[in-house]
């Protein structure tokens, strides 16, 4: 495709900037609303004059709910889940990529099938099972059912298929165990995919609502999405507090994204474009 002429170019940028503005406006509004008090809420659409900026909403938020505790809960659950998923999924992906063994085809087919069946089908019996295992209202009940990510296994298989065979053979000749090959060769080489997967898994767990909502009852165990949902019910008038809570809740994911964005964007599309 050729270069655009100046008029078309200006139009192109205009459309892109407009689309970009539409995308960012709600987020800017979120930041603005969390920084102004209830009088300015109606007086100014976005930011109030500089001298009227306030952190009152955040103070009120911390007064109304144990926000730090909730943040730590969410971080703990998401961190644990990501680590466990990362280990099991990459290990499984390694086996599927580098070995021929009986039952491999069956596993691949089963993986594809589970990606097609919506998880909600299992919701009711899974809840029953978790209750019978006495894992309801515990973090184990939150983490264990999702300890292996099928999607992650697929991602790691795809990336580990590209490992040169000579590298693994050389390791074997040097007396490296099979687990050693995974740990010392496959894992270090897959660093970009690990970055991508960590972010995807973290986002998935950090934002997950339905399953925690079903199995968590104790307030001390609540994660951010659950607690924020309750805050919506309690605080219909105090919009600034809600905005402050929402803003703080999305910051960790945004931060992790900024660290991992290169790996993430390439890892995200790798499965679709090459697979």
């Amino acid at each position: 495709m050729g270069e655009d002429n100046p008029i078309r170019k200006a139009l192109l940028y205009a459309v892109l900037v407009l689309a970009g503005a539409l995308t960012l406006v709600p987020l800017v509004w979120l930041v603005a609303c969390s920084l102004k008090n209830s009088e300015d809420f109606f007086a100014h659409v976005f930011f109030p004059p500089l001298d009227r900026f306030t952190l009152d909403n955040f103070r009120e938020l911390f007064r109304q709910m144990p926000f730090l505790r909730l943040m730590m809960n969410s971080l703990f659950v998401a961190g644990t889940t990501v680590m466990v998923q990362l280990f099991f999924s990459s290990l499984g992906g390694f086996a599927l990529a580098r070995y021929e063994f009986r039952g491999k085809r069956v596993i691949m087919i089963v993986m594809l099938a589970t990606m097609m069946i919506p998880a909600q089908v299992m919701l009711a019996p899974l809840y029953e099972l978790i209750t019978r295992m006495r894992l309801a209202d515990t973090y184990l009940g939150l983490v264990v059912p999702g300890a292996v990510s099928v999607f992650g296994m697929y991602l790691f298989r795809q990336s580990m298929l590209q490992l040169p065979d000579e590298l693994l053979q050389a390791g074997r000749i040097d007396g490296c165990s099979e687990f050693g090959l995974y740990w010392r060769i496959a894992i270090p080489v897959s660093r970009p995919m690990i970055g991508a997967f960590c972010l995807i898994a973290f986002m998935g767990t950090w934002n997950s609502f339905l399953w925690p909502q079903i199995i968590l009852q104790s307030k001390e165990l609540f994660t951010l999405p659950i607690a924020l949902n309750q805050l919506v019910g309690l605080q219909r008038q105090d919009y600034g507090v809600l905005m402050a809570g929402t803003l703080l809740s999305i910051l960790p994911v945004a931060g992790l994204f900024l660290v991992l964005q290169k790996e993430f964007l390439s890892g995200l599309t790798a499965g679709a474009v090459k697979g």
């Binding site: 809420f41 950090w206 919506v232 999305i250």
Partner: protein
């Protein structure tokens, strides 16, 4: 190396792949396969709480077919899915085409910006947009009022006819940029020489798009269509949060998964919930297979 160490080494070499996939197999059988089978069984029972279960055969499914609430949930979900595929994806593709123009500056910045809503989880989007759509001070009403002088009292989430447009607008905000990433990656993979050849053959921009671009990105396009459809069928958090844990006015925000949740975990009939789940799975399966089939036959025409 001693003899036992040698045989140990041979042992781990022979069985390594099985050990590596063992965690997946154990967890999958316990928390995947078992619940899956159990949900088939459960769907033949009426349950209330863990103790009372009555076998009713196919009655759950028959009841489901005649259940007006379920009909409403299906309709809402289908409308939402249709909007995702026919409204959101063309916009994603259009944006990707724009971003793929030669000599564009700031491509990565634009991409980052369009992608940013995806970083906000569905739940948090729900909270944020319940305020965007609020009366009087809500961002949308304020903007519409400033631009077109409409009323500030438009009750987006309180009037049945506005609920679905509000949900669709929100999902556009969330996903147009996200799906654009896939399209953009696909566009960048289309063989450049094909465009040159088409230009030599005198193909205009539209013909180029139809005969070079679309076939070139088809695998990704099918992938994105299937993924968006599956995602739309599972819609729950967004309306649930935006409508403050309710179905919305006249059930305008009731989705299939929300109905499943209500029946299974509010009313406590896990049997009926399982029947809803399997009906949903069937719908997803039919849609996905249909779309992939269409994708395959369409290639042959081109």
């Amino acid at each position: 190396m001693s003899k036992t160490a040698g045989s140990l080494f041979a042992f781990q070499q022979r069985h390594a792949p099985y050990l590596f996939v063992a965690p997946f197999i154990v967890l999958f059988c316990t928390f995947g396969l078992y619940p899956l089978v159990k949900s088939v069984v459960l769907s033949f029972y009426i349950t209330s709480g863990p103790k009372s279960q009555v076998f009713v055969g196919l009655e759950n499914f028959l009841f489901l077919l005649a259940d007006p609430d379920f009909g409403k949930a299906c309709l809402n979900t289908a409308v939402f899915a249709a909007c995702s595929v026919f409204l959101q994806l063309p916009l994603s593709l259009g944006l990707a085409l724009l971003l793929n123009r030669k000599g564009l500056r700031g491509r990565n910045l634009f991409r980052l910006c369009f992608f940013s809503p995806r970083l906000v989880g569905m739940v948090f989007v729900g909270v944020l947009f319940s305020l965007v759509f609020a009366m009087r001070f809500g961002l949308l009403n304020v903007a519409l009022h400033a631009l077109f002088g409409t009323s500030l009292e438009l009750d987006w989430l309180g009037e049945a006819r506005y609920v679905m447009p509000a949900l669709v607008l929100t999902s556009l905000w969330m996903y147009v940029g996200f799906n654009m990433i896939y399209f953009l990656a696909a566009l960048q993979n289309v063989d450049e020489t094909l465009y040159e050849a088409a230009t030599v053959d005198g193909a205009n921009a539209w013909q180029q798009f139809w005969h070079v671009t679309l076939p070139g990105i088809k695998p990704v396009a099918v992938f994105v269509v299937v993924l968006s459809t599956i995602g739309s069928f599972q819609l729950f958090e967004l309306p649930y949060l935006m409508l403050q844990n309710s179905r919305g006015p006249d059930g305008a925000g009731l989705t299939v998964v929300m109905y499943l949740y209500e029946n299974g975990f509010v009313t406590g009939d896990l049997g009926y919930a399982s029947a809803i789940g399997w009906t949903l799975a069937l719908g997803v399966l039919i849609m996905a297979i249909g779309q992939m089939y269409l994708g395959r036959t369409w290639k042959k025409e081109v």
